[in-house]
């Protein structure tokens, strides 16, 4: 074996797809940067976005990152499916194993850690402070830093496309395959360091939001009067806080194995690879709930608004969340019922898994009874929600089947399992997040996304999902295993062709979404500089505090901190007919922007790259650079913030009141 870090550009020469993709990415990146510089936007971008500590802007940046990563991850999915549809029997497809194996690894990692998680944090960032009546998060600088570390991780994982290669190990990288003996080249190192960066960022984000929610609620908003989305965020962030350290520890051990000759997960030196499987699933299973609980929270916000009705069973909902918080730690072994752990262990974890399906299933009834005797309007967010309820129960069905350990022995690692978790993740998580995205978009920008395209996007996703994943259940039962680069049985081809059709229907859904965004950008350009642009409550039946401020909200969110007395604070205000206050404002204190987060992110990115390629002088340089940036910020950063003068607040609030009055007349 030679030097694992030799020949970094090998893949570019060997696989033309990679070369063209990289060229395209580089060209697009150069064009974007050149465009920004030529149009003279750089200064504005730097002041208003890159160095911003405003939670709303950071939230939008997170969502942009997530959408870009969605396209990347989905491109992987298209390649896998088209390849598999060709690689049966005599056919060999167009991806050799060493390339195909990278693609499914990247697909999983990107979709979970760089698509779903940033989208989640984007929504947390934008919505939570507004919902609890706060002016920002507890630690605005930390928030900015979290974003840039996530960004660094996302860039690092995409560098692996052109320089070196990515891991060929599956998204949870079981050793010894992911150890030095199984993967001597740099692929797994890219995997480790990009996830380590995003893991640190996610943990910091969790601390930030927990403190924000515990400390910064508007007066009168007790925990049991908080919107369900915030509750789901509490539980989700508490889970992050407890599970990410386990994953980080596992990656540290694997790093030591790979870099320093330690023996944790090796076959020699008394290492034990099976320990890893426990670590990653102690992380991995609660991670599912980290993603899906906020999805439940979103539904609990959207369904009442479009049913024009109170949420059914508010407190039961919260108890269900808390039960899930506890139980989610007691089910991880169901990911390896097939390890031969014995009767007692399998029985315990099988039953725990079924029990956790109860609080999960109960929520479905909550939403159903929220719709019951309401006035349902079929706007795009509501369509996503109904699609989610309809699809998610199906995913729950196969989930319960998988929880029966003896049945799981027939499904484990088969295409059936892949179909199941896409059923819950696309049907449960993606549909809900998109519901939230469409729902809160007008709050962020002052106007709604195109409705027709929104409905088209939903139906494409919905139909495409069933076409793409139901055949997968069938081939799973026929004996198809996941992560297969080639199938022996040509009779399965028809199923894989149907799946490809489904994938392209979903692609149309994504295309509609992107078109919606392009239309929105064009519309936004016309409105440039004229904020506030929209009504406070564009959907008409907003219930929580975020709908009480202008769209987009002013930098300080709330001119005066609202007083809360019920669960649906804004609904209550409307019932009481409170007028918008237009005088008697105090100056508002705001945190100052800082470039420190950006620089630390850049140092972290180069640090990760240097670690992957064993460039030790650069490692030292960047590590010192990152720490020094942090320390410098503590010494020279502007911690005192600044004040928005009362006159400016008044000006904004008067403009807001005018728009509201105009809206009411019309």
């Amino acid at each position: 074996m030679g030097d694992p870090t030799a020949a970094p550009f090998e893949a570019l020469g060997q696989v033309p797809i990679v070369l063209y993709t990289c060229l395209a990415i580089v060209v697009i990146a150069v064009l974007v940067v050149a465009g920004i510089l030529l149009l003279g936007w750089w200064g504005s971008l730097w002041r208003n976005w890159i160095t911003s500590v405003d939670h709303k802007r950071l939230g939008i940046m997170y969502v942009v990152l997530a959408v870009v990563m969605l396209v990347r991850g989905f491109a992987d999915a298209i390649m896998m499916r088209t390849h598999q549809a060709m690689a049966l029997g005599e056919g060999s497809g167009y991806l050799p194993p060493e390339h195909y194996d990278q693609i499914f690894t990247a697909h999983g990692v990107i979709m979970i850690f760089f698509m779903a998680t940033p989208l989640l944090f984007g929504l947390f960032n934008f919505v939570i402070p507004l919902q609890i009546g706060a002016r920002d998060v507890a630690f605005p600088f930390l928030n900015n830093l979290s974003f840039w570390l996530t960004f660094a991780g996302a860039i690092l994982i995409n560098i692996s496309l052109g320089v070196g290669n990515f891991g060929r190990v599956g998204w949870l990288a079981y050793p010894p395959l992911s150890g030095l003996s199984g993967s001597p080249d740099t692929g797994v190192d890219y995997y480790i360091w990009s996830l380590q960066l995003s893991g640190v960022a996610t943990t910091m984000g969790a601390i930030n939001f927990l403190v924000t929610i515990f400390k910064m609620r508007a007066p009168g908003m007790t925990l049991m009067k908080m919107p369900i989305f915030c509750w789901s965020a509490v539980v989700s962030n508490a889970l992050i806080l407890m599970i990410y350290p386990v994953l980080m520890a596992a990656y540290i051990f694997l790093t030591l194995d790979r870099y320093l000759g330690f023996h944790f997960f090796t076959n020699d030196g008394a290492g034990n690879p099976m320990v890893w499987i426990n670590y990653v699933w102690v992380f991995g299973h609660p991670e599912v709930y980290v993603l899906v609980l906020p999805a439940f929270g979103i539904l609990s916000e959207v369904v009442p608004v479009f049913s024009s009705k109170r949420l059914f069973g508010y407190s039961a909902m919260i108890w269900a969340l808390l039960v899930i918080l506890v139980l989610s730690f007691l089910v991880w072994v169901h990911h390896f019922f097939t390890m031969g752990a014995g009767i007692a262990v399998n029985t315990f974890f099988s039953i725990m898994t079924m029990i956790i399906s109860v609080p999960t299933g109960v929520k479905i009834f909550n939403w159903l009874f929220t719709m019951y005797k309401g006035r349902i309007r079929f706007e795009p967010p509501m369509l996503w929600c109904m699609g989610m309820i309809f699809t998610f129960v199906g995913g729950g069905l196969t989930g319960v089947m998988l929880s029966l350990a003896s049945a799981d022995w027939a499904f484990h690692n088969s295409a059936f399992l892949v179909a199941h978790f896409h059923h819950t993740i696309i049907g449960g998580v993606v549909f809900s997040y998109l519901a939230g995205f469409v729902f809160w978009f007008p709050k962020a920008f002052g106007f709604k996304l195109n409705r027709t395209l929104g409905i088209a996007s939903f139906w494409c996703w919905f139909v495409g999902f069933y076409v793409a994943f139901f055949p997968l259940y069938v081939v799973g039962l026929k004996g198809a295993t996941r992560r297969m680069q080639h199938f022996m049985d040509p009779a399965w081809q028809i199923y894989y062709i149907v799946m490809v059709v489904g994938v392209f229907i979903i692609a149309l859904g994504i295309l509609s979404l992107v078109l919606q965004l392009i239309l929105a950008i064009i519309h936004g350009c016309k409105l440039k500089g004229n904020l506030p642009v929209g009504k406070a409550d564009p959907w008409g039946d907003g219930r929580s505090l975020e709908w009480s401020v202008s769209s987009p909200p002013p930098p300080y969110n709330f001119a005066t901190v609202p007083q809360v007395s019920t669960t649906d604070a804004y609904w209550q205000m409307k019932v009481e007919g409170k007028p918008i206050k237009t005088s008697g404002f105090q100056p508002v204190h705001m945190p100052s922007n800082t470039a420190a987060g950006f620089w630390i992110g850049i140092f972290a990115l180069i640090l990760g790259f240097a670690l992957v390629w064993h460039i030790w002088w650069l490692v030292m340089l960047c590590f010192i650079g990152a720490v020094a940036s942090f320390i410098c910020y503590s010494f020279f950063g502007d911690h005192d913030g600044y004040y928005i003068p009362a006159a400016k607040v008044q000006e904004h609030e008067e403009a807001f009141a005018r728009i509201e009055a105009k809206g009411r007349k019309a």
Binding site: T338, N366, A410
Partner: protein, 317 residues
Amino acid sequence: MEHIKKISYFFGAAVLMLLLSGCDIAVLQPVGYVSKEMRNLIVVSFVLMLLIVIPVMIAVVVFAFKYRASNKNAEYLPDWGGSHKLEFWMWIIPICMVSILAVLSATYIHKLEPSKVLPESVAGNEPILQIDAVALDWKWLFIYPQYGVATVNEIYAPAGRQVLIQMTAENSVNAFWVPKLGPVLYAMPQMNDKLHLISKEDGVYKGRSANYSGAGFAGMEFDWHSVSRGDFNAWVAKARQSRNRLDRAAYLNLAQASQGNPVAYYSGVEKDLYYRVVNRCVVSGTVCNEELMKIAAAKSLWGQLCSVFDPGVVAVK
């Protein structure tokens, strides 16, 4: 809208047709005792779950239609947000369902535990055929210790005779799976897993590794030939004529990574080879894991507390 509906109906019908026309759904058309029991469990749990899922799916559509905003005749209760009676039922129904499934699951886990010998009523009292399986990069090695032969990527076993498969892996974690016969079970390095199977019908069944293990993973398939006793004996005789010996050196040679290995036979398998593979002491001069753990237990308190190491390798009786 109409268009989209039509398209969705078309694809729905296509998917259903595929489902129904699938003449060979391995998991649902089992040929062994264990797999038949698993099939029963799958079908029963599926039907039980449908009892909840179908009404919910119908309710979503019905509620959406009935309480649409344009239907001003429907009742509208904007402030109705709770009902203890309803909440009681919406907790109690899933709890009942889960209780039934939990009992079902526990029963089947006890009944089908892979390491347990099958009941005599199913397997008779014929001596168990033992196969020691090793997942190599990227092929399967099957050792027949009772007959002193070994094969690569092929299993022959008499129909109606109980088979014990012990499995381990040389490098990565793999999983042994013959969908028509029984469960997936991990073949893990340093570990020994035991699986009891029986095939009730003659036939050739596809088996493969069900846990991704690297570049050659897709090719890690083998055929399980379930044959009459006479054919089995003939096959053993054929394997015994092979000139290949499977000693430790030959094993290490075979363990080198390779893809697309044809079926091969070995006669004269070195005694204890499987034990040494599990205990990582095939290379001469290395000490077996079991020995190392015994030394550790003698040396320290932690060793005594944590020395639960038991490779559990079943030697031939």
